[in-house]
Symmetry: C2
Subunit: 344 residues, 2 copies
DNA sequence: TTGAAAGCGCTAACAC
DNA sequence: GTGTTAGCGCTTTCAA
């Protein structure tokens, strides 16, 4: 029942060659005669032998594994990112060790220590919430990068051996807000639920757009939702409460599609027609945007592209190449049914 | 920059003891004097030493890692499962190697081979789509189980060293359908997008409920959606097309929340009021059920509980204990706004 | 309570 | 083209 612990020695014996030769055919060395190769391959086949990755790792000091850290792998956006990363990495013959750390710094530190002790070849931090405000807090990243390359998906940090791949959230938000204004929405509410690095960039983009368009908006039109990330009814309730307090708005620009969904609910509750009387733009262009009725216009931040480039960059780094420390992509608004075209 | 490759030898030298002693304190052996232990601990601290997991693994033949296989880790349901599993496993000091295999048998086989060669201590197959119709196709699982315990989340297969943890989909669907009928829905459409093991169980439950209630439904009221798993608009379109062809129904029981969402869209398009004129029950009780407007009644299959028990069972097996080969939990209908109470 | 030494299974440098 | 052998870093008898 237990594995027969077939080793390279067994194969060498079976095939009547030395272990070095077995190792050679295992690693595809060209310096083996076809006849010998066949003998070895047959022996391997016959015994169902699989090389022991530990022994290999011990010698090579790598097991071709990348550590992926995310706050919550079940989050719609993060899950997609993990999915794409896993695919890309596997295509490059790397495995993924997944760690969900939650949002606590301490957990993150220990997760990284653990990954490093397991000798991962690189670490990917998925989501901008891994970047904190102070250098002191971010020291854990710099520290980790002394041992293995650290890749940041949607978060920027300048340090040796850390590489950032981001979407330009500032610009995307700027464009979304501008578009909303140009479409005739006068009283925009900005709805967000994260104050991470990219969360702040988004807000800045929003503010800049308003400023450049010469529209002002009271501070209570920047609404922070403090609840659970998936609590759409709660998000809608907060909007409704706002309305009851007399805060009015004819459009919502949301930092996440969940928030945008809640805005659609809000409008429906109030009997506002979308997009004629009320506009919504979401963020992430997730499946929620097409689940929504009407379907959400949403900012597509090119997650798959980001993941592809992140992996390519990591592979480059691992291969000893000089790779760009910062890579920035532009997002794009996916226009659907919750926004109007520009007024002419 | 690169790690200093501090080894147990360095520590032994620094602390002035043998490597055996260092190893002992590392593994918490009681047979070390406090004085010696302190010396060693200090040396470790001073040098920032971390044991090499490969070397350890080579000797122990385990690296405390579990392989998790899923068709698509970004699927709402699978992502949640993976999340819960990862948490539970980590709480038990195990790491997770994640493999997304898609739905092809061949990919699955090679993913498992790979995991085994990486010496995972166990394998978890997430989702009933890993179970095929024929023994021949399922041989890959039996085969894998000869080397490591294989856990099936929501899929049953009887074989040595394979353990199944499932939700009783038959019963859940039976109850949902019964309830719908009892609430006065007369013309139910069953909407599904998977013919996996659990997919079939669901359908059986649906059919039995109708039979026991003495209601018959034409075969075209069992609608299979063949498109992408996240294509809610496509799902709605199929329903609409059906309507145009003259197929009528006043309620939908869906094998997944996405499908249920599409039914809500369908009803809205037709101007049917929910739940007065049209009822919907979803499956999985995912975040979509609260995203929906009105919020979906949905079958909660207790995913988190399943994951907890799966992990507990796996830990038992790994610890050499005798564990149940099959564990079945009952689902539960989460009543929300898309169903009516029972008619009296 | 501690140390010496024999593996664990593989890779790669070096000889032939 | 093939074999020999010295590690890789750790755990674990077995002696002391």
């Amino acid at each position: 029942m237990k594995d027969h612990a077939t080793t390279i020695y067994d194969i060498s014996e079976l095939a009547g060659v030395s272990i070095a030769t077995v190792s050679r055919v295992l690693n595809g060395s060209p310096n083996v005669s076809d006849a010998t190769r066949k003998k070895v391959l047959d022996a391997i086949e016959a015994s169902g032998y699989t090389p022991n990755a530990f022994a290999r790792g011990l010698g090579l000091n790598t097991m071709k594994t990348i550590g992926i850290l995310a706050a919550d792998s079940s989050d719609l956006y993060l899950a997609k990112a993990i999915y794409h990363l896993e695919r890309e990495l596997r295509a490059n013959d790397y495995d993924c060790l997944l760690c969900c750390t939650g949002y606590e710094l301490e957990n993150r530190k220990s997760a990284i220590d653990l990954l490093i002790s397991k000798k991962v070849d690189g670490i990917i931090l998925v989501g901008s919430n891994f970047i904190y405000d102070t250098d002191e807090e971010n020291a854990y990243i710099v520290e980790a990068a002394r041992t293995v390359p650290v890749m940041l998906l949607n978060g920027a940090l300048e340090a040796p051996n850390v590489y950032s791949i981001t979407s330009d959230d500032y610009k995307s938000m700027y464009e979304a807000a501008s578009e909303l204004i140009d479409s005739g929405v006068t009283n925009i509410l900005y709805y967000y639920n994260s104050i991470s690095y990219s969360g702040k960039r988004k807000e800045k983009g929003f503010r800049s757009a308003l400023k450049d368009r010469g529209v002002t908006v009271p501070e209570n039109h920047l609404q922070y939702f403090d609840g659970t990330r998936e609590d759409v009814p709660g998000m809608a309730a907060q909007l409704l409460a706002l309305h009851k307090k007399g805060v009015t708005f004819d459009g919502v620009i949301a930092a996440d599609d969940t928030l945008a969904m809640s805005a659609v609910k809000y409008a429906r509750t109030l009997g506002l027609s979308i997009p004629e009387e009320f506009s919504v733009i979401g963020y992430n262009n997730s499946m929620l945007s097409t689940c929504s009725d009407p379907e959400l216009s949403s900012i597509d931040n090119k997650l798959e592209t980001l993941c592809q480039h992140l992996t390519a960059t990591l592979m480059g780094v691992l291969g000893g190449a000089d790779m760009p420390k910062i890579t920035v992509f532009s997002g794009e608004i996916a226009h659907r049914k919750t926004t109007r075209p520009k007024t002419t």
